[in-house]
Amino acid sequence: MIPQLLDGTLVLVVVALAWRALNDRDLFRGVIEFIALGLLLAMAWLRLRAPDLALAEAAVGSGLTGALILSALVRMRRREQAAAGQPAGVATGPWAKDRAKNFSRVLLGALSVAMLGTLAWAALSLPAKARGLTAEALARLPDSGVTNPVTAVLLNFRAYDTLLEIGVLLLAIVGVWALRRGEWPAADLRERPLLLSLLRWVLPLLAVGAGYLLWIGASAPGGAFQGGALLAGALVLALLSGLGRRLLRRGRLVRTGLTIGVLVFGVAGAVALGWTGGLLQYPTGQAGAWILVIEAAALVSIGLTLGLLYLGGRPGEK
């Protein structure tokens, strides 16, 4: 009885929090609720027996996204104050008095509920005992080179998806750099010795943690993405504390770091093609080693990309 109760409350809280986050009158509070929602979702993934995803969701889904949105909010507030000269008033909530707006809002609400009903009707009609691809995946697991089924799917069975996905990552950072020039957070370490000393041992710890996660990914929940997320966290901390500025001065190195994931994966695919005649078809038996190499490269570029996403633009003074 207890687990149902637990799930029920979790679901209810998630839905309520989602509504609050998006329709809260005060934007700042909304963002905070959004981050909380992220964490709760991580809990939900655990309940749904998806540890890999819980890790990723916590680190990337709520952590990084929350940080990005917060910094964006702060930037916008500062610019609005500078421009309009009046204190950052409470953003007008959804209940503006304009009658036409209300009408369309009510209509949209009704339509959304109707959509939800249809979706529910369809979802509930799904067969209770759907077979899914678990059986095939487990059958093919031994010669996939890794024991963690999720990593096997990610980097072997559907390696093509992951290739494109890392491409998306690179594209995102290229897009962001094309759009804006990054703004350095103003923190100056000299006044904050405590922070400096904390960072001095936290950052290496995080780096080692990322490496561990990468290694363990082959057999247990973990892998390139989760490791990358950890690395990104470390990078964000470095940026916040102003340490990262020196690191990012040499453009070429940073850019290579970003593209190493795609390059290695692409080249590996090409070599595999030459070797076995199939795109991304690892030579029999060596799959594990290939996957590790690819994952390592992916780890570096994911970490760097997600970290620089926080910067919100291309580094460098030009």
Partner: protein, 117 residues
């Protein structure tokens, strides 16, 4: 701990999707919209994982898990790109209200100041 009931989380996911879409369309502030998109994404991923749980033979179906992981990464990229773009647009809006708009909004595209997205 016995498995959670997949249908419950499926419905939760669909609910999140609906709420996200509603807010995306209703809200005018860019950040709220971006958050709405994230919530919609999470809703879909919740649905995916609920389906994965349905076929929990020895373990939940790893394929949806991989898909969701890819989805999450794509969502983050989307959010990063959206925020950068929203920032540039908001910067445009901000210095437009100031007396010297550097480039008058051209009449053709008829973009209302308040509806930025």
């Amino acid at each position: 701990m016995p498995d959670a009931d997949p249908r419950l989380y499926l419905l939760a996911g669909l609910a999140l999707f609906a709420i996200g879409f509603y807010s995306l369309v209703v809200q005018t502030h860019l950040l709220r919209r971006i958050m709405a998109l994230n919530v919609m994404g999470s809703g879909v991923f919740l649905a995916f994982l609920a389906l994965a749980l349905k076929a929990a033979a020895p373990m939940p179906d790893p394929v949806p898990h991989a898909m969701v992981l890819t989805g999450i990464v794509v969502a983050v990229c989307a959010t990063g790109l959206a925020l950068a773009l929203a920032d540039r647009v908001q910067a445009l809006e901000a210095n437009e209200e100031t007396p010297a708009p550097e480039e008058p909004p051209s009449a053709e595209t008829g973009s209302e100041p308040e509806d930025a997205g």
